[in-house]
Assembly symmetry: C2
Homo-oligomer: 123 residues x 2
């Protein structure tokens, strides 16, 4: 189901181990062993995490003697950032007057949790 690139990227990022690996890769290439070192996980588990990152296009693996150095590929991160950035004005509180007004009327004249003004109020 979750075949689209953006979902793939975001779910790859939704794990602390994998994010830590990407942080490490900011410094440059690293082998699987180097990436595994900080974690108390079996190599197969590490290998699986790397496969998730690879499937999302977030890393690239080469072959060098017996090692498989991993390199960061930032493109999917840009895509993710682009999506989130469309909300930037919201969290920066930069709604202009119109937007704020639209939010208001969308919410209807208040009365949270209780009855709205009755329209068919016969008496």
């Amino acid at each position: 189901m979750t075949t689209d690139t953006l979902s793939l990227t975001l779910s790859a990022l939704a794990d602390p181990t994998r994010r830590a690996m990407l942080v490490r890769l900011r410094e440059g290439q690293a082998t699987v062993g180097q990436l595994a070192e900080p974690f108390d996980l079996s190599m197969p588990a590490i290998s699986k995490h790397l496969k998730v990152l690879e499937r999302a296009g977030l890393i690239e693996r080469s072959v060098k003697a017996q090692t498989r150095p991993c390199t960061l590929r930032p493109e999917p991160l840009r895509e993710a950032a682009d999506w989130i950035d469309r909300y930037r004005d919201l969290w920066e509180g930069r709604l202009d007057r119109l937007d704020a007004y639209l939010q208001e009327i969308q919410a209807e004249p208040a009365n949270e949790t209780q009855s709205r003004t009755p329209k068919g109020d016969s008496e």
Copy 2:
């Protein structure tokens, strides 16, 4: 395991249905029914997606007559954007000379796919 906020946020975002809901909510509050309308999903499924968004703090639900209007909460998005933004210089190609050089030497004097320079090369 995945208890940290950022992981929660990213995995909530890693689904096209939930992202579409957030896009809709950019326009303002919407009831569960309104949010469900574009999708060919049962109400329970919709309800679950909303619960995921709520648990991640991405939406807030109020009660208004029989409806439960949802509102966007952008804070978790900011946190996610902050994490990703640390890689912005990478995808914008703004590695300065030093960083590029560090990447180079980290990768060792080339020789991909074949043997490295032997250190114990006796002759």
